[in-house]
């Protein structure tokens, strides 16, 4: 056999080799993704691709009113449409008692029903469900459902919620959740008041549509009385199965959830919500398989949304720019039926975790309103980095300090650790300061400042934004849903390797990264490893994609299970070859005996014996070559990063052009740099959307004003620059040394870009951080008059998609 392996066709040549991360043959390499050939040739399997015999189609009649009592629902006209088979309202589904639990399997405090139960609480709330031969006919039917309302004035904004009548009957006020102190602690107040410098900084974050390109959808199939098969676009088939079993009270029903390919999720698809549950109940009631595929109009107005928060942060500094104390007052708009009633405590926990902040106090409240409820979105607690990092830049300008210097004076460095943050977060190996150093090795700040000065003289406004952060990833053990990961690895009798895992990819490429790990640990070719996922009947419970966890935890599970299996191979091969297991080496799909090249044999021949010739196995050896391991990682693994971006703001138009963007992140061992950079880039693009473009707004009557992608502006290729990546790669304490990287770009991106814009426009004064920073808002700063208010009353053309996409990227 050849000692030198042939060049691997699956590995993309990498002009600049990645730094050594303890890499094997595949770990650390830009291996081509296993998912891509089927997705590139149109052979993926998304939920709308599922066709089941006897399947019928569902459309919803939805509320056009934000807040009302339903006086009557007339379904006669809908039922008369040829091809319409049934029209259900909540009354028809009331025999099913559904507990609309949150992601942590906790019951809601207010009544939530799949279809509206006598009242509507947001525009788009499903009121009736129509079953028909085709989606077209179902929509025809839905359009003929007549709903009579007694309309009431809606509670739309956080300000409305503070003073308006309760959204939910039987509650005293609109506070959905509250933590912290109503009145600021006296000692903290004294620290703030005595400080040489006190910054009061406000951030208003708009509401966001997660906007996965594949909208929500489900095919619900009742098989007999005790089996339920769900095809659903989701983030974890296991979570959907567990949630459905508990929420519907179906412990005796065999629930199987299948989701092979999912077209993005970003926090929206953690578990079923009103529409999906209504379809499941209707399928149980009607007895035929039902399909509902959300269209984009429904997705934009009626799918759960994200963010919409405002916060005021006070930060006290000493004369040297060192942090003394801080206080935050946070509010978020939960909407009517949030997936998670929430005041976002993680914002408070992580706000100052990466900084030497002696004292912090807060008040955090979540408010009910007559808008569609919130769900998660990549880095749900991202407000902490946005407000902290933008406040630090405001402070730097006030104190006359360089924004880099103010961070260096306050960031927790490796030398400061181990330590514990003022909110009790243990810190052992975070590296935001080291990431900042690495970032600056790749960016000449002094040269930029010279350019900036020269440009300003010519009326051109360049800005540099810097931000640093840490992020909790791979959490396990403290929340019921957030568990470890199971890996089951088999060396098949063919000598090929299959793994059954509970990872789930909505673009994450877990079938690729897990195969890289397993191939390395078992000494087989990457092509010879197949990872099966996306089916709750395989593997064990796992929350799938949630909280930047799969690389960390499933990666550890893949390593542990593979190592158990390798030990088994070595025991068997040693027995067969008369050698010690320690002398067995697995490489290139072969099993070698050290010092005895003539004894090398294929893994397949060992596997055939393991499965088929029990007489040749060592005493007590379990037949077959299979192993499984459930990896329980450390409770939390922290990822660090520092980013820089350079922008130019056009003082005539208020348009922002991003000229350069560098990400220096420390996600420990990098399994596949292309996958890691893809995660970061995707998060940064979403950050750019949040800062410049996206806005899910409502008018005073609670009507969503963005109902198409002509109104809700997603970043296009022309809005996103080339990102430059620097990897710090400090191995974590989890098995394999990985750190999560799924959410970071969406967390550190917004403050980086806002700081760059604020730096560019510093000659005109401070830029209020009210996202999105539209051209009209920036012109209001530049021209010192309220153009944004005027633009609100003008045609959308002022901030329209055509004008914002006219310029090519920098």
């Amino acid at each position: 056999m050849s000692a030198v392996p042939a060049p691997d066709p699956e590995i993309t040549p990498d002009p600049e080799p990645d730094p050594d991360t303890g890499a094997g043959r595949y770990i650390g390499k830009r291996v081509r993704r296993k998912e891509d050939p089927r997705l590139l040739t149109g052979r993926g399997q998304f939920v709308d691709d599922i066709v089941v015999p006897g399947m019928m189609h569902v459309a919803f009649a939805r509320s056009a009113i934000a807040r009302a009592t339903i006086l009557s629902i007339n379904t006669v006209g809908a039922r008369e449409v040829p091809g319409v088979h049934a029209v259900y309202t909540q009354k028809d589904l009331a025999r099913f008692k559904v507990d609309m639990m949150n992601f942590f399997f906790i019951s809601p405090e207010v009544e939530i029903t799949p279809l509206a139960n006598g009242r509507v609480a947001y525009v788009g709330e499903p009121v009736a469900l129509v079953i028909a031969d085709s989606r077209h006919i179902a929509e025809d039917g839905a359009s003929l459902v007549e709903i009579e309302y007694a309309e009431e004035d809606p509670v739309v904004t956080i300000a409305d919620a503070r003073r308006g009548p309760p959204v939910h009957p039987g509650t005293n006020n609109n506070i959905a959740a509250q933590m912290g102190e109503e009145a600021i602690d006296e000692d903290l107040d004294a620290l703030l008041k005595r400080a040489p410098y006190l910054i009061t900084h406000k951030v208003v974050h708009q509401r966001i549509s997660q906007s996965p390109m594949e909208m929500r959808g489900i095919v619900a199939v009742r098989d007999g009385s005790e089996e339920l098969t769900l095809y659903i676009t989701c983030q974890s088939p296991h979570v959907v199965a567990r949630w459905t079993s508990l929420a519907l009270g179906l412990p005796q029903t065999a629930i199987r959830v299948i989701a092979k390919d999912v077209g993005g999720a970003f926090g929206l698809k953690n578990h079923p919500w009103k529409e999906e549950v209504a379809v499941i109940l209707a399928a149980l009631e009607f007895g035929r398989p039902l399909k509902w595929i959300e269209d984009r109009y429904e997705n934009l107005i009626a799918a759960n949304q994200a963010r919409e928060a405002e916060m005021v942060l006070k930060v006290a500094f000493d004369a040297n720019g060192k942090l003394i104390a801080s206080h935050g007052d946070y509010s978020c708009n939960n909407g009517a039926y949030p997936q998670l009633v929430d005041c976002n405590i993680a914002v408070q926990m992580f706000l100052w975790a990466a900084y030497k902040m002696p004292a912090y106090g807060f008040l955090a409240r979540g408010w009910y309103t007559n808008t569609v409820g919130l769900a998660a979105y990549r880095g749900p607690w991202a407000m902490e980095s946005l407000i902290r990092e933008t406040a630090l830049d405001v402070a730097a300008r006030r104190l006359g300090l360089d924004p880099i210097e103010i961070r260096r004076r306050n960031l927790v460095t490796l030398k400061d650790q181990p330590t514990t943050s003022c909110m009790g977060i243990p810190l052992e190996d975070i590296t935001p300061a080291e990431c900042l150093d690495k970032l600056l090795e790749n960016f000449d700040v002094a040269a930029f400042r010279q350019n900036q000065k020269a440009a300003r003289k010519k009326g051109r406004y360049l800005g540099l934004g810097i931000a640093a952060y840490i992020e909790p990833t791979g959490s396990a053990g403290s929340i019921v849903t957030m568990t470890g990961e199971l890996a089951q690895v088999h060396i098949e009798p063919t000598g090929k390797v299959t793994a059954t895992m509970s990872t789930h990819s909505q673009g994450h490429g877990t079938a690729t990264t897990m195969a890289q790990i397993i191939a390395d640990r078992l000494g087989v070719a990457y092509e010879d490893v197949t990872v099966f996922e996306g089916d709750s009947s395989r593997g064990g419970f796992s929350p799938g994609a949630a909280g930047s966890r799969q690389g960390v935890i499933a990666g550890g599970a893949a390593i542990m299970a593979s190592d158990l299996l390798a030990a088994k191979v070595k025991q068997l091969a040693g027995h067969l070859q008369g050698a010690s297991p320690e002398d067995i080496r697995m490489e290139d799909g072969m099993v070698h005996v050290e010092g005895a090249p003539e004894k090398s044999r294929s893994l397949r021949s060992i596997a055939e014996i393991a499965y088929g010739e029990p007489d040749r196995l060592p005493p007590g050896f379990e037949a077959g070559l299979e192993a499984q391991y459930r990896y329980q990682p450390p409770p939390m693994t922290l990822t660090s990063a520092a980013n820089a971006c350079v922008v130019e703001v056009d003082a005539e138009t208020g348009f922002v052009k991003i000229l350069r963007w560098i990400s220096a992140e420390d996600c420990g061992t990098t399994i596949n740099p292309a996958v890691v950079e893809g995660q970061i880039a995707g998060g940064l693009a979403q950050a750019i959307g949040m800062v410049l473009l996206e806005e899910m707004a409502f008018d005073a009557r609670g009507n969503p004003t963005a109902a198409t992608y002509k109104d809700y502006l997603l970043p296009a290729i022309s809005d996103i620059p080339d990102f430059e990546f620097v990897h710090a790669s400090t191995p974590s304490k989890s098995v394999g040394g990985m750190r999560g990287v799924g959410e970071g770009g969406a967390i550190i991106g917004p403050p980086t870009l806002v700081n760059a814009i604020a730096d560019a426009l510093a000659p005109f004064g401070e830029v209020p951080v009210e996202l999105p920073l539209t051209p009209a808002k920036l012109l209001s700063v530049i021209e010192r008059r309220n153009i944004a208010a005027a633009a609100d009353h003008a045609t959308p053309a002022a901030t329209g998609p055509d004008s914002s996409r006219a310029s090519p990227e920098g």
Binding site: E35, L40, T41
Partner: protein, 160 residues
């Protein structure tokens, strides 16, 4: 709703069907002809996921009715790779450049690039990027898509 008989050649095979006038080409291709690689992302012509090639031109199949494609030559993403599975050059470049994550927008990106580079055309990088600005990708931040466009552009043979 009136029914209309339509016939078209899809990926080299003849397909016929009776459709209501309101049925979009995308729904016909997915539902009637079974080409589920045609992805419907917005149904109002913004996201580009449903792009197919009709008579040599990239078309948003959600904005075209099936009856309008009567008699047309249609290519979907399923029709690009060679019968032996060899990927179309556009597919290969996107694979090499890690230009996709969830893959939902990908068929549209593939078809636009395939239409613009068909018959050994070498559009400029600016032309390709302008066309790609009509495709929304929520996952990748467009990094790999842009690298792929650069590779496919005329600049590969010299500056355009």
């Amino acid at each position: 709703m009136s029914k209309h008989h339509v016939e078209m050649t899809i990926n080299g095979r003849r397909h016929a069907g009776d459709v209501e006038a309101r049925v979009s080409l995308s729904d016909f291709l997915r539902g009637d002809a079974g080409y589920t690689g045609v992805h419907v992302g917005c149904e109002h012509g913004v996201c580009g996921a449903c792009t197919v090639i009709v008579e040599g031109k990239a078309v948003r199949s959600c904005l075209m009715l099936a009856v309008q494609a009567d008699g047309a030559q249609v290519t979907t993403v399923e029709g690009l790779a060679a019968p032996d599975g060899t990927l179309h050059p556009v597919q290969q470049v996107l694979l090499d450049e890690h230009a996709l994550q969830c893959g939902f927008c990908t068929p549209g990106v593939v078809m636009t690039l395939a239409a613009l580079t068909n018959d050994a055309q070498k559009p400029s990088e600016a032309q390709l990027l302008a066309a790609l600005s009509g495709h929304i990708c929520r996952c990748t931040g467009y990094q790999g898509i842009r690298r792929a466009a650069k590779k496919l552009a005329g600049a590969a043979r010299g500056k355009s």
